[in-house]
Symmetry: C2
Subunit: 198 residues, 2 copies
Amino acid sequence: MARPSGSQAEVTGPRVRAAAERLFARHGYAAVSMRRIAAEVGIGAGALYHYIPDKQTLLVDLMAAHLEELLAAWRAADPGGDPVSRLEAFARFHIRFHLDRTDAVTVAYGELRSLEPDGHARIETLRRAYEAVPEGILTDGAVAGAMRVADVRLAGMALIAMLTGVNTWYRDGGRLTRTDVETIHADMARGMVGAGPP
Amino acid sequence: MARPSGSQAEVTGPRVRAAAERLFARHGYAAVSMRRIAAEVGIGAGALYHYIPDKQTLLVDLMAAHLEELLAAWRAADPGGDPVSRLEAFARFHIRFHLDRTDAVTVAYGELRSLEPDGHARIETLRRAYEAVPEGILTDGAVAGAMRVADVRLAGMALIAMLTGVNTWYRDGGRLTRTDVETIHADMARGMVGAGPP
DNA sequence: CTTGGAATTGAACGCCCGTTCGGTTTATGC
DNA sequence: GCATAAACCGAACGGGCGTTCAATTCCAAG
C-alpha cells in the first residue's frame, strides 16, 4: 500500500542525496563509493537502489537540481530596473546563493568531466542559461551607455568566474563578513565594466 | 651501466608524466588507472614503477612542477615599474601562461582534494606564494594612490579567479584571439581596482 | 662477444568497485 | 491480526584497482 506522508522514502531519499553531495564535494565523484554513501546514511549499499537508479543518475540529478534552483532563485531575486543596479544585485545574489551551497557548487562546477554524454548535454544547457543572465545585463548596460564592455560574452564569463571564486577561499568567521564580501565584489564588478562608483 | 644521454629513461619518464597529466586533466585523478596511463605510453603497468614511486607521488610532482614553473616564469616576466603597468603585465602573463598549459592548470587547481596531507601542504605553500604576487602589486598601487582597493587579499583572489576563468571557455580558433582576451582582461583588471583607462 | 644493469613483461596479491537479487524485516491500512 | 508492499540485508557477480616481483629482454660499454 502507498505509505502516508512521512514515510521512510520521503526522509531517506533526501538523506541519500545530501550525503552523496557532501562526499562528492569533499572527495570527488570517482573517489566515492556507493558503499561509503550508504554507510553515511546508515543503510546497506543495496538499499541505495530503492532511492536512485544508479550512481551516474544520482550525480546528474544533484547537478541539475542545483542549477535549476539557481535559475529559479535569480528569477525571483532579479530587481529589474537600470542595468548598473541590476549588475550589483546580480553580484550580491550570486555570492550569497553560492556561499549558501558550497557542496552543491563544488559538484556542479567540478564534476562536469564525470558526466556521460546525455547528462553532460542537459547540464551544459542549464549552465548556458545562467551564463545568459549577466550577458543580458551587460548588453543592456552597454546599449544604455552606462557601461563600457568590449565583449559581452567574455565580460559575463569573467564576472561569473570572479564571483564564483569566492567559494574557494571564503570561510565564515574570517576577517570579512559575507556582506563585506558582497559589497566589495559589487564595487569591483562595476569597475570592471567602466560604471563608476555609486 | 649508466646509460648515455638519450637513454630510454630520459624519454619515457617525461612521456609517463605527460600522459598522466593529460588523463588526470580529462578524467580526474581518481578515475584514471595506472594501467590506462601505461597503455597511453605503450608499456605494461608494472613498468611505470621504474619511473615513479607511486600514483600519489606522480600527482604531487605534476602539481608542484607546474606551480614552481609558474613562479619562476613570473619572476622572469615581472617588469617592475609602476603598479598599474605591473598589474596589466601580470594579467597578460597569467592568461598567456595558463592558456599554454591547460592540462597542468586543470590538475593543479582541481585535484587539491585528491592530495594526502603531506603533498597538500607542499602544494598549498606554492599556491600561497603565487597569490602573494597580485597582493604585492595591489598593495603598492594602493599605497601610491594609483588604485582603490578595499581589501588587498580579496581583490587579489578575485583577480586570479577572473583570469584563471579564461581556461574554462577559451578555445583557439574562436571569435577572439589570445591577444584580444589578454587586452580586455587587462582593462577589466584596471577597472576592478579603480585605476582608470590607460 | 661478453657482461651487467636498465627496461620491461606478465602473472599474481588482496582488496574494492557498481549493481543485482532472493529472502527477511517492518509497519501501516483494513 | 492479517494482508501487503515498502524498506532493507547480505551475499554474490564479474571486473578493475594499485602495487609487487621473479623472470626475461634489451643494448651500450669494455
